[in-house]
């Protein structure tokens, strides 16, 4: 900006918002030094162009393209039909603008990326006294003042404030304050600011009027991050969902993927483990894969990061979430790329969708320091009723009676003479037992604290911008023995070396420490929560001497053993079995961007994602499940580097505009895992060294990826849009014969709203865009070396010493290739009523071919992998089969009320239908299940993946007559059944019950999932409420085979006990009798409706009034109260319908094996700006 236009600090502005034809004349105040710098920054941008005698409006369009700015002006500002010529070679924009506008007496000023044009009449150049009204005829009668703040409570400078139906107005100063004189009869003030929704507020008799503006979330000029670049939302032809920083910070989530929950149509985010730092499964548009991962690719500031959960090194299927290492508060925006047009540029990693994470960058201007402190309590969000000690004793007695009679005992035999079916005498005194009952679930679940501290500083000068932050999170786990701590630092710095070269460094180290414990799974494997559910309530947690009580070595007063299940004390399992994981992670990248010419840029990036993990485990003396004191330690290091080089181009000729990017990238990952374990450790020194080293292991793996990529975006008349993109990936993971893959995509868009007929006919339509895209993406999540035939160690003993051996574990498959996903998408983005109502709708059809799957092999191949207690079926990875996903997505964003009271609603809903189209020649049926019990889910052609497939229960036999009547051709179908047992449906009608009678008993895929959020604000208060849910999915409650099918030894649900069949006269409410032989069965009785609606988040915030924060020296401040997971409406009987035992495994959906439930979190926090 030239000195001349800056000679005064107080300007008069003319603004016009083109869509509404609304013209404002106002006085400009308070352009701060900071704004000068920002303007300087843009205006120093060098451009080259050569325009000969063109209409001024077209010249401005060309300038917009070449200089990446946007002009705003009232239609009467520009001289009509004036034609001009400009020649510029590598000249600063400001200089060019001055040459253009000065002769026309037009003044220009920069606001963000926008350049506002106004007539530079003599009067506007007159210095005005601040806060005074100029150029008004109406009689000044009174003064009104106030402050305009943003959605986060910070003062907004430069907001125009005018009196409705007049041209009286002002703008806010650097702190967002304004003051002006208004006519006595002024009724309404209109507040408007670029990027925010206009607000009209009644004045009344007030002399002070404070206003909070709400961002216009569907701003068409919004810049959206896409693969290898950015685009204006208006030009996008793909299906992309975005969430912004405010939507993330308001939720107080601890991991960024949780921030996505319920926010974007087509994105199902499932907290499969509620453990702090626990696993989150994200599925974009359904399960596109069956055997490989279905998680999307995560790209942080352009770096596709390792999200490989196996890197965590922890055995188990719900490993800690590697994304939990990133502080959500550092995130500026998250973009979810859903269709092939947007994901194909990520090639062999794009098939499950791509999530782009952009972290906050500094801004030229005044430094801003923000401190955020919050603390809260976490508690279980649901509770269950378990049997008490009296119930337990009664169930025990019944089970032993039943068994005694089944084995031919005489009912008259006294208890003492019943041998193995004898019941400890004191069990008969149920009332006194009930008085000393232990609720084990309440013993392992407890309320716990959470606290979070964040400090950040942003700012910069013309040539240097910075955003630096640090945070500390301490989140306890609601299950004892678990908890999570995270320390993060981030430093994003961008420097301008000269007018053409920019250099940036993003440096983000973090350390997280996670006490994981072992919570879900089989109690026999030490799962504390499961054991808590089934532990006998008769025993106290601690014996009289303070040691843990023991079910395992319990002996009743009459000397009876093995009365209870022979497991450890559940509290000891939770407290004494330690799995503690520390991960130090460094995400860092550095880039240089060089402007070859104003339309051509070259960028090279070098990034590193390095992580170092250590895992410590120890099983203390009070746990005897595995005998001697055992412990171990593992470490892993993963080093992932990436080099990316891109050339990007943006140009415009007449009505044609073209942007392109072309690039090359190389990425390599090296991973090493070392592990040592010891036994007979000294409990005083519970580390491997104090015992005998028993086992060690070392695993080294690498992968590499070499890619070429490109994209062209073409716009004609600003409303006909086309995009093509391409990527070629060469991957070390695939077979020799298929090392390279090619991933093209194409898309068309039509901004119908800009057609003249639309503008005339439907003026309430602000924007209407049609999109259609088709493309090919891939999925390479198959692990390393999968195409190679490998051997595994298979050792033996000779001469009293161990000797080494090996055996085949996998086979060579040189043809192995990536899964290919072809995706068609058609959608529309519609904005109505001045952008107050925004609708997005998409239909997609998505077909994955060459599905990768570990095809089970006949055992006689000999390739099965022995485990401790059984064999993993022999299998080999092959490209077989096809699966389709199709569906609709709708998103609605509505600014219901704008004004003093603001109300915004976001609603999204998605319907996905999944179907397996083929599974190759072999098998045509894949069985999966839980780690506890296998083969209750089937994936087969013609149905969605992972259908529950079990025996079907048809109620309970009420009496012997019903057993006898259940026959086919005179033969009893369940000859050994007794009254109180389940009746199974003879599905194949062969007169008996066998595994062949299994049938489809439920679909774990939801019919739809939705998110619904409402934001209200009034004066200094704001309230956000976010709901989300799924409908129509079934969940296998694996644990209910113990806690609902009572066996007398294991404890269970009170409802099951009270509703059990006792006798024909006491038939109960549909639960079977207590029986020692039935407990482990699993069938349709254990499958439940998993639909739920969850109040995910409620945040109430109060922006501190000026008097408060200026008194304590702040620029702004805000206190908030946030509640997560406040309420879950569901018919599911377990603790959390959302958990899933096998985390993100696409073929193991809807399996609850007493998973870690998500806690309810109540937080109180304070944000202060300095």
């Amino acid at each position: 900006m030239t000195k001349k236009y800056h000679s005064s600090q107080y300007w008069l502005w003319l603004m016009r918002f083109s869509l509404t034809q609304f013209v404002l004349t106002l006085t400009l105040l308070g352009v701060t030094y900071a704004r000068d710098l920002r303007a300087q920054d843009y205006l120093n941008r060098r451009i080259s162009l050569n325009i000969d005698n063109k209409e001024i409006k077209k010249v401005l369009l060309t300038l917009e393209r070449t200089a990446d700015v946007r002009f705003m002006y009232s239609s009467n500002v520009l001289p009509k039909d004036q034609k001009i010529s400009i020649q510029a070679t590598d000249e600063p924009l400001g200089q060019v603008l001055e040459r253009v506008f000065r002769p026309m007496k037009i003044k220009f000023e920069l606001m963000g990326k926008r350049i506002l044009l106004s007539p530079a009449t003599t009067s506007t150049l007159v210095d005005l006294v601040p806060h005074q009204v100029a150029n008004q005829a109406a009689l000044p009668a009174r003064t009104i003042q106030g402050r305009v703040v943003s959605e986060t409570g910070e003062g907004l400078p430069g907001v125009s404030v005018i009196v409705r139906a007049t041209s009286t107005g002002t703008v806010t100063d650097a702190k967002g304050d304004y003051s002006m004189e208004i006519p006595n009869d002024a009724k309404v003030l209109i507040f408007s600011f670029v990027g925010y929704l206009k607000q009209e507020v009644a004045v009344g008799n007030q002399t002070t009027l404070n206003v909070q503006l709400q961002p216009n979330t569907q701003n068409l000029d919004e810049v959206v991050v896409v693969g290898y670049g950015t685009q204006n939302r208006r030009d996008i032809t793909g299906s992309i969902g975005s969430i912004k920083t405010s939507q993330i910070t308001d939720q107080r989530v601890t991991s960024l993927d949780q921030a996505l929950q319920g926010q974007i149509a087509g994105v199902q985010v499932q907290q499969t483990s509620g453990a702090p730092g626990g696993n989150v499964s994200i599925k974009i548009r359904g399960v596109t894969s069956i055997g490989t991962g279905s998680d999307p690719l995560f790209v942080v500031d352009g770096f596709p990061i390792n999200n490989d959960k196996s890197l965590a090194g922890l055995p188990g299927s719900n490993p800690p979430n590697p994304l939990s290492a990133i502080n959500p508060a550092d995130i500026l925006s998250i973009e979810v790329l859903k269709d092939a047009s947007s994901t194909a540029i990520y090639g062999s990693r794009g098939a499950n969708g791509v999530i782009l994470i952009t972290t906050k960058q500094g801004d030229s201007g005044k430094s801003r320091i923000t401190l955020d402190v919050s603390a809260g309590m976490q508690s279980p969000s649901r509770t269950v009723q378990l049997m008490d000690a009296g119930d337990y004793a009664q169930a025990f007695i019944e089970s032993r009676n039943n068994r005694f009679l089944v084995r031919g005992g005489d009912p008259a035999t006294p208890n003492a003479l019943r041998g193995a079916n004898r019941v400890p005498q004191y069990f008969f005194n149920t009332d006194s037992l009930r008085a000393h009952s232990t609720n084990w679930v309440n013993e392992v679940i407890r309320p716990t604290a959470i606290q979070n501290y964040q400090l950040s500083a942003t700012g910069g000068s013309a040539n240097l911008k910075y955003a630096i932050s640090g945070s500390y999170l301490d989140q306890g786990g609601i299950i004892i023995g678990t908890g999570f701590k995270r320390y993060t630092l981030r430093s994003n710095i961008e420097a301008k070396l000269n007018t053409r070269t920019k250099l940036g460094v993003n440096f983000a180290p973090s350390y997280s420490f996670n006490k994981i414990g072992k919570v879900e799974g089989h109690f026999a494997q030490g799962s504390s929560l499961t054991q808590a559910f089934v532990s006998t309530p008769i025993l106290p947690v601690y014996d009289a001497d303070g040691s843990y009580s023991s079910q395992r070595s319990y002996v009743s007063p009459e000397g009876l053993t093995a009365v209870f299940n022979a497991q450890d004390n559940a509290v000891a399992m939770a407290q004494e079995a330690k799995y503690e994981q520390g991960i130090a992670r460094l995400l860092s990248n550095m880039y240089v961007e060089y402007e070859i010419s104003p339309s051509l840029k070259f960028k090279t990036t070098l990034g590193v994602d390095a992580s170092f993990m250590r895992l410590y485990n120890f099983r203390g003396a009070s746990l005897i499940t595995n005998g001697a004191l055992q412990g171990g330690a593992s470490t892993s290091q993963s080093l992932n580097w990436l080099n990316e080089n891109t050339l990007s181009y943006a140009g415009k000729w007449g009505q044609h505009a073209l942007q392109g990017v072309a690039g090359f990238s190389a990425q390599k990952n090296s991973f090493e895992f070392n592990d040592v374990s010891g036994i007979n450790l000294n409990p005083e020194v519970p580390y491997v060294r104090s015992g005998r080293i028993a086992n060690g292991n070392q695993t080294i793996e690498e992968w590499a990826l070499v890619s070429y990529l490109g994209r062209l975006n073409y716009q004609f008349k600003d409303r006909y849009l086309a995009t093509v993109s391409f990527r070629s990936d060469g991957s070390s993971r695939f077979g020799n014969n298929n090392r390279y893959g090619y991933f093209p995509s194409a898309a068309l868009g039509w901004r119908m709203a800009d057609e003249p007929f639309m503008k005339k006919a439907l003026s309430f339509v602000s924007d209407w865009k049609w999109r259609v895209s088709y493309g090919l993406t891939g999925n390479n999540n198959i692990g390393n070396y999968s195409s190679l035939g490998l051997t595994l160690p298979a050792n033996y003993v000779l001469g009293g010493s161990q000797v080494s051996g090996y055996a085949v574990s996998t086979l060579d498959n040189p043809d192995l290739t990536w899964e290919k996903n072809s995706q068609f998408d058609v959608g529309a983005d519609i904005s109505l009523f001045n952008n107050r109502l925004n609708l997005t709708a998409d239909y997609y059809y998505n077909k994955t071919i060459d599905l990768l799957w570990r095809v089970n092999l006949p055992a006689l191949t000999g390739i099965s992998v022995p485990g401790g207690s059984g064999y993993a079926q022999a299998s080999t990875l092959k490209n077989i089969g096809q699966v389709e996903n199709k569906g609709f997505e709708f998103a609605i964003n509505s600014q219901n009320l704008v004004g003093a009271f603001n109300w915004t609603t976001n609603f999204n809903i998605s319907f996905n239908r999944n179907k397996v189209l083929s599974l190759g020649v072999v098998g045509e049926r894949f069985f999966t299940g839980s780690n506890i019990v296998n083969s209750f889910q089937v994936t087969e052609v013609g149905r969605p993946t992972a259908q529950f497939y079990t025996l079907v229960t048809d109620g309970i036999f009420q009496n012997q007559e019903e057993v006898n009547a259940y026959q086919r051709n005179g033969v009893l179908i369940q000859p050994t059944a007794r009254p109180g047992d389940f009746r199974y449906r003879d599905v194949n009608d062969d007169g008996r019950i066998s595994p062949d009678d299994r049938d489809y008993t439920g679909n774990p895929h939801p019919q739809f999932s939705f998110g619904f959020s409402n934001n209200f604000s009034y004066k200094n208060f704001s309230l956000n409420v976010l709901l989300s849910g799924v409908y129509g999915n079934k969940v296998m409650n694996v644990g209910s085979r113990w806690v609902s099918n009572l066996n007398g030894n294991l404890n269970g649900f009170k409802e099951a006990f009270e509703g059990r069949w006792i006798s024909p006269d006491q038939p109960g409410t549909g639960y079977p009798s207590v029986s020692t032989t039935r407990a482990n069965e699993i069938h349709s009785f254990n499958i439940e409706d998993g639909s739920f609606v969850r109040v995910r988040n409620v945040t109430l915030a109060y922006a501190l009034p000026k008097t408060v924060f200026s008194a304590i020296g702040l620029q702004g401040g805000r206190v908030y109260f946030s509640g997560q997971n406040l309420l879950t409406l569901t018919r599911y009987s377990g603790l959390d319908p959302e958990v899933n035992e096998n985390g993100s495994n696409p073929l193991s959906l809807g399996v609850d094996a007493f998973g870690y439930p998500s806690p309810r979190v109540l937080t109180l926090g304070l944000t202060a700006n300095f």
């Binding site: 595995n626 005998g627 005998r692 070396y785 190679l788 051997t791 298979a794 055996a807 060579d812 595994p995």
Partner: protein, 487 residues
């Protein structure tokens, strides 16, 4: 051109070259098939894989579940899982985990040695060593097929290795083979192994199969296949020439102190120490809660998967029979509260352990006492009555046990005496169920054993073979699910 422009060009050019090698990454910490099975040493390692297969805990567990628990010798304790109880009560189906492990374990062993037999011929190596390796592989294949054919009857017979996808596709082409064809293969393999294997090994190799192991197993195979004529000379040769003899003290067979003893012909080697080579017996067999008092604090407490029946205890009719106390314990002291717990438990292979599932005792597959009794059985069958030789063999075994010699026996009484003797001698050694079947007594004995006064039970003969595992029939269309009145 400006330097920065030059550097861009250089970067682009660099990027266009030399990607091929960058993508060729082979595993560093894992072996590859393409570089295995190539040398004598490779074959030796692969053989250890073959031995490892028969040492797998799941496989050996399945063997006593389907060989002992199923019989009248033992039962599972009250806290056992559904798979355990099913085998105890003849209510198992094709998805029983032990049925599946029996199948998977055997074929894993077969597959591993099939590859050795496929690849060994062209390898340049010492001829004696090559013979030995071939003999070991043949023995292991026969051992596994013998386990399969006894347990399942008709099974697929595969004798080539699977190390590539074409072979995998071919493996779907195997249906169920006739039982005689399987026995023919077993006999051929063992006969050849017997001619190839050495009679003994130096110390560091003790544990490998010997010629005598092959011959003793061949005798057992003949016997089970009711080829008594063929069994007699093979077993006689083992008795006469192997140099094996009975250990003076019966109980020594089952302790870690006397591994690979003079009585042993073949045993599965275990080694404690937390290195994955320990045996599961003490923890799996002992009654729940008893482990820490019986075998030490390192035990997981006992899973109660092998509790002797009262019937077995009573079968030791002679109070002087030394085998009784070496086989069955009747009580232990809970030292935490000084209570005596009265319960029957198996004592074989239950040396002290330092850690769970990490027993040090070997498991004897074939011992000299078995050869003696098998030989006596063959003689009785071949001569339609016991000759003096037959009687002296059974009496050798009885003498070591400290019980009186038998005399005045005819074919039937001798046969009954043999079945009883075998029960007492080999309880928990995975013999009982197959003995009952061979003697044609399984239906009668088990019907009596399981029946109660109010609930009569009749064992149908279809229960004599396990059903083909569901996991296999679901996969291979050529292998139909076992369908009869039992399954």
């Amino acid at each position: 051109m400006k330097p920065i422009h030059k550097s861009i060009v250089v970067l682009v050019l660099l990027s266009l070259s030399g990607c091929g090698k960058f993508l060729e990454l082979s595993p560093k910490s894992q072996g590859q098939i393409t570089t295995s099975y190539e040398t004598a040493s490779d074959i030796d390692y692969a053989l250890m894989g073959g031995y490892d297969a028969i040492q797998q805990r799941a496989y050996i567990t399945a063997q006593w579940m389907t060989g002992e628990v199923i019989s009248d010798n033992t039962e599972v304790g009250s806290g056992s899982g559904v798979n355990d109880i099913q085998l105890n009560t003849f209510t198992f189906a094709s998805n029983n985990s032990y049925v599946s492990s029996m199948w998977q374990g055997a074929y894993t062993g077969i597959g591993r040695v099939n590859l050795i037999l496929d690849r060994i011929e062209p390898i340049q190596m010492n001829a004696t060593l090559k013979n030995q390796y071939k003999g070991e592989a043949l023995f292991l294949r026969a051992y596994n097929y013998f386990n399969l054919v006894r347990a399942f009857g008709r099974v697929p017979l595969i004798t080539t290795g699977v190390d590539n996808l074409a072979a995998v596709d071919a493996s779907f082409g195997y249906g169920l083979e006739e039982i005689p064809r399987i026995y023919t293969q077993i006999i051929r393999d063992l006969t050849e192994a017997g001619s190839l294997l050495p009679v003994s090994y130096p110390g560091a190799s003790v544990g490998r199969v010997t010629q005598w192991a092959a011959k003793a197993l061949l005798g057992k195979v003949y016997l089970q296949n009711r080829q008594f004529r063929e069994a007699e000379p093979v077993l006689k040769e083992v008795i006469d020439r192997s140099g094996r003899s009975l250990l003076p003290n019966f109980a020594d067979n089952f302790t870690s102190g006397r591994k690979n003893s003079q009585e042993s012909l073949f045993e599965i080697q275990f080694l404690s120490g937390g290195i994955g080579e320990g045996s599961p017996f003490p923890d799996a067999w002992l009654p729940q809660g008893s482990g820490r008092f019986l075998v030490g604090a390192g035990s997981n407490g006992g899973q109660g998967l092998n509790l002797p029946t009262r019937d077995l205890q009573l079968a030791f009719a002679d109070p002087l029979d030394r085998r009784r106390d070496a086989t069955i314990g009747t009580s232990y002291l809970n030292t935490s509260n000084n209570r005596v717990i009265n319960i029957l438990f198996g004592r074989k292979y239950t040396s002290q352990v330092a850690a769970a599932l990490d027993g040090n005792d070997n498991f004897i597959v074939l011992r000299y006492a078995d050869v003696l009794l098998m030989y006596a059985e063959a003689l009785n069958e071949n001569n339609q009555g016991p000759n003096a030789d037959a009687i002296s063999r059974i009496n050798d075994v009885r003498a070591r046990a400290g019980v009186a010699a038998l005399r005045d026996l005819n074919y039937t009484t001798f046969r009954n005496a043999l079945l009883l003797e075998r029960r007492l001698e080999f309880a928990f050694e995975n013999q009982r169920w197959y003995d009952l079947i061979r003697f044609g007594r399984a239906e009668q004995v088990m019907s009596t054993h399981i029946s109660t006064p109010t609930r009569p039970f009749t064992l149908r003969s279809c229960f004599l073979y396990l059903p083909i595992p569901q996991s296999e029939t679901e996969l291979n269309p050529l292998i139909p699910p076992t369908r009869n009145e039992c399954y």
